[in-house]
C-alpha cells in the first residue's frame, strides 16, 4: 500500500474579497493567521495494484480526474473529496505526493498557464518533499535504533547484575575476573558460589553465539547451576549432569553451553573440577603451565550425560586460569589464531590474579591490532594461591653431637608442614638438612658441646630456605673432590665423602657464606614440583653456584 498524504485548497472567496483595506497594515503573521484558502488534508492509501498509481507516476504535469476512466478506489476517494485536478509529485520515478486541487474559484477551468505553473511547482516540490520524507524516515529509524540501544544498555546492566558483584576473598587466595562481551550483552558468564566447609565453586561458562539470544540462555543456565550447586555441593560432575538434564528440555536445538565447574578448598589448595566441553583450565606455576584435563559433553546437547571429575592441587604461588574461547580463538589481521601455546607462554612465570589478567588483556589487544572487531565474548577468571610472605618459620639451636642432625630434620619438617611442599621434595630437603647439619656439627663446630648449630627456616614466595650456621667461619674451607664410585671401589678415594654431593643433589640451590666467625649454608627448595623431571641434574648444576665444605 502506498500512502499518499494529499491536500487540496479551496479559496474562501467571501473572506478574501471582503478583507478590509485597513487590514493591509496588519502584520504578515496576522495575515498568515487569517487564511485565504481552505486546505483539507486527506490520507489517501493507494493500493500497489491500483491503476491510478501507474497512471500518476507516468503523467507529466497535472491530471484532470473528472473524466479519467480507471477502475480505481483511490480515484473514487479523490473525486468524493472534491478534487478535480491532481498534481503528482514524482521524484526519481517514484510518486512521493499529490497536490489535489478543487475547482477554480472563478469556476472556470484551469488555464494552460495554471497547468504550466503547477507543473513547474511539481518539478521543484517533488525533490523537496522526497528529501523531507527521507529526513523524517531517518528520524524514525534513529529513534527506533536509540530505543533498541537503550534497551540493550539496560539488558547489559541487568546482565551485569547476574555476575558476582564482589569477588570472593578466601584467606591466602586472590581471585580476579574479567568479562568483555563482544556485543552489548554476552553469552559468557562466570560465577562463584560459597559452599559448606569454606569451599568455593568457581564457574566459567560460554553459551553458543553471542548477543541477546546467548544472554537469555546465559541467565537460565546461571540459575540452573546455582540450583544444582545447592543440591550437589561436593560433586562438580553431578552438578553439570543435573544442569545438562534441565537445559536439554529448555534450550533451542542449535544452542548449547560449555562450562567449567570447579570446587576449590582454599584451606588445602585442592581443586576438584568437571568440564562440559569448555576450554581446559590452565594451572600456572613459575616454570610451567599445564592444562587441567577432564572430559564431558557441552550442556544442553544430549540428555543422560555423565561428567568426569578430576582434581589438582594448587600450591602457594600457583593459580588456575579459566577462560572462554574468545581469547584463544581471537584472530589477528593476518588471520592467525591467538591459541593456547601463546597463552601458555604469557601465563608462565606469572602467578595469577589481576596481574595475569592485565597481561593477557594487553597481549590480546596487541595481538589483535588496533582495528580489532571483537569476534566473541572474552572472559577470564583466575584463582591464585598467594605465596607465603617472607617469614621466619623457625629459628632454633642444635647441640653439636653425633646423631643430632635427626633433631634438626624433625624440627625443619615441622616448620615447613603448612607450605604444601610435595612429599618427595620434603624428603630431599630433609636429607639435605641432615647432611648440612652433620657437616656443621662435625667440621664447623668439631662436635664441641658449647658450639651449637643455629638453624633458621624461612618461607619465601615460591620456596623455602633453610640457613644452617656453625662457628667454623675462620677455618679454611677444605677442597672437596667430587665423589666417584668407581674411584672409591678402586681404592683411589675414601668410601666416604658423600655429604656435600648429596646436599647439592637434593635441593634447588645451595649457597655458602662466611661472616666473621660464622659459616652459613643456605639450602633453597622450591615449593612446586614443576621441574621434577630434571631435578637431579638441575639441582647439581644449580648447586655449582653455591659452595661449602
Amino acid at each position: 500500500m502506498v500512502s499518499i498524504k494529499g491536500m487540496w485548497s479551496r479559496r474562501s472567496r467571501g473572506k478574501a474579497e471582503t478583507a478590509p483595506a485597513a487590514e493591509a497594515d496588519a502584520s504578515l503573521a496576522q495575515q498568515l493567521k487569517a487564511p485565504a484558502t481552505a486546505v483539507t488534508h486527506l490520507d489517501l492509501d493507494i493500493a500497489p495494484n491500483d491503476p491510478l498509481l501507474a497512471y500518476l507516476q507516468s503523467a507529466s504535469g497535472p491530471v484532470e480526474i473528472a473524466n479519467l476512466k480507471l477502475d480505481s478506489p483511490a480515484l473514487e476517494k479523490l473525486r468524493a473529496g472534491g478534487a478535480v485536478l491532481v498534481l503528482p509529485l514524482v521524484s526519481q520515478g517514484e510518486l512521493v505526493g499529490l497536490v489535489n486541487l478543487g475547482p477554480r474559484l472563478s469556476e472556470q477551468d484551469y488555464s494552460l498557464d495554471d497547468r504550466k505553473l503547477l507543473a513547474d511547482l511539481a518539478a521543484q516540490a517533488a525533490p523537496a518533499v522526497r528529501v523531507a520524507q527521507l529526513v523524517r524516515q531517518q528520524q524514525i529509524e534513529t529513534q527506533a535504533r536509540e530505543r533498541l540501544e537503550q534497551e540493550l544498555r539496560v539488558a547489559r546492566v541487568i546482565q551485569q547484575t547476574l555476575l558476582p558483584r564482589e569477588l570472593p576473598k578466601p584467606d591466602g587466595w586472590q581471585v580476579a575476573a574479567h568479562w568483555q562481551p563482544a556485543q552489548a550483552v554476552s553469552g559468557d558468564f562466570y560465577d562463584f558460589i560459597n559452599l559448606p566447609g569454606g569451599k568455593l565453586a568457581v564457574i566459567v561458562a560460554d553459551v553458543t553465539g553471542k548477543g541477546v539470544p546467548a544472554a537469555l540462555v546465559m541467565a537460565a543456565a546461571r540459575s540452573m547451576l546455582r540450583m544444582a550447586a545447592e543440591q550437589e555441593p561436593e560433586a562438580p560432575g553431578k552438578v553439570l549432569a543435573h544442569v545438562n538434564e534441565m537445559l536439554c528440555g529448555d534450550i533451542p536445538p542449535n544452542m548449547f553451553v560449555t562450562c567449567l565447574y570447579g570446587i576449590l578448598d582454599p584451606a588445602t589448595g585442592r581443586f576438584v573440577f568437571a568440564n562440559a566441553g569448555h576450554n581446559l583450565p590452565a594451572k600456572c606455576a613459575t616454570e610451567a603451565v599445564v592444562e587441567l584435563r577432564a572430559t564431558g559433553m557441552p550442556l544442553g546437547l544430549l540428555p543422560g550425560m555423565e561428567y568426569d571429575e578430576q582434581e589438582s592441587n594448587v600450591a602457594p604461588g600457583e593459580s588456575v586460569l579459566i577462560y572462554s574461547d574468545g581469547l584463544v580463538e581471537a584472530h589477528n589481521p593476518q588471520g592467525e589464531m591467538f591459541g593456547f601455546p601463546r597463552l601458555r607462554q604469557m601465563a608462565c612465570g606469572l602467578g595469577g590474579g589481576s596481574e595475569l589478567i592485565e597481561r593477557l588483556r594487553g597481549a590480546l589487544a596487541d595481538f589483535a591490532g588496533a582495528g580489532w572487531e571483537q569476534e566473541d565474548d572474552v572472559t577470564f577468571v583466575t584463582v591464585q594461591r598467594l605465596p607465603p610472605a617472607n617469614k621466619v618459620l623457625a629459628n632454633f639451636k642444635v647441640a653439636s653431637a653425633p646423631d643430632n642432625e635427626r633433631e634438626a630434620v624433625e624440627k625443619v619438617a615441622g616448620a615447613v608442614a603448612g607450605l604444601g611442599l610435595p612429599a618427595d621434595r620434603l624428603e630431599r630437603l630433609k636429607t639435605a638438612v641432615a647432611e648440612a647439619t652433620m657437616n656443621a656439627m662435625e667440621h664447623g663446630n668439631n662436635y664441641d658441646p658449647d658450639k651449637p648449630v643455629v638453624i633458621e627456616v624461612r618461607a619465601e614466595p615460591d620456596c623455602v630456605v633453610v640457613a644452617i650456621t656453625d662457628q667454623g667461619g675462620e677455618k679454611e674451607l677444605p677442597q672437596t673432590e667430587a665423589p666417584d664410585l668407581d674411584a672409591k671401589l678402586a681404592g683411589l678415594q675414601s668410601p666416604r665423602g658423600w655429604g656435600l654431593f648429596l646436599i647439592k643433589s637434593m635441593v634447588d640451590e645451595v649457597r655458602a657464606q662466611t661472616d666473621g666467625p660464622h659459616h652459613t649454608v643456605e639450602l633453597t627448595m622450591r615449593l612446586a614440583n614443576s621441574a621434577d623431571g630434571a631435578t637431579s641434574a638441575a639441582g647439581v648444576a644449580a648447586a655449582t653456584k653455591g659452595g661449602g665444605r
Binding site: P402, D403, N404, E405, R406, E407, E410, D424, E427, R428, T431, A434, E435, M438, P483, L485, K488, L489, G491, S494, P495, R496, G497, W498, G499, F501, L502, S505, S536
Partner: protein, 117 residues
Amino acid sequence: MAPNKITVDVRKPNPRVAVLDIKGDVTNQAEAALLDAYNKACDGGTKNVALNFTGLEYMNSSGIGLLVTMLIRAQRNGQKLLAYGLTDHYHQIFELTQLDKAIRICADEANALASAE
C-alpha cells in the same frame, strides 16, 4: 632424640643367597652391626648378599660410605650385592650416587632371590 638404632639379622633362604634384614638407621653408628652381619653372611662362601631395606628408617652419607665399604669387600670376595625394599627417596639417592650400578636394585625378596647368580 632416641639413640641411633639398628638391627641387622642374617638369613639364608638358600645356599647361594644371604639376606641382611636391616631395621633402623644406617649411619656411622651402624658400622659394627652392618659389617658384622656382612661377615656372618659371608660364612660358607655365599655368593650373593641381598640387603633388605624394607625396615630402613634413615640413611645418611656416612651410611652410604658404609655401603661402599661393604661393596669393596664384596668385590674382593667375588660376591654380588643386591638390594630391595628401598623407598623412592633412597632409590633416587642410589641413582645419584650410582650405587644402583654396582648394587642390583630388586623389587622385592623374590625378585632378589631370582636375580642371584
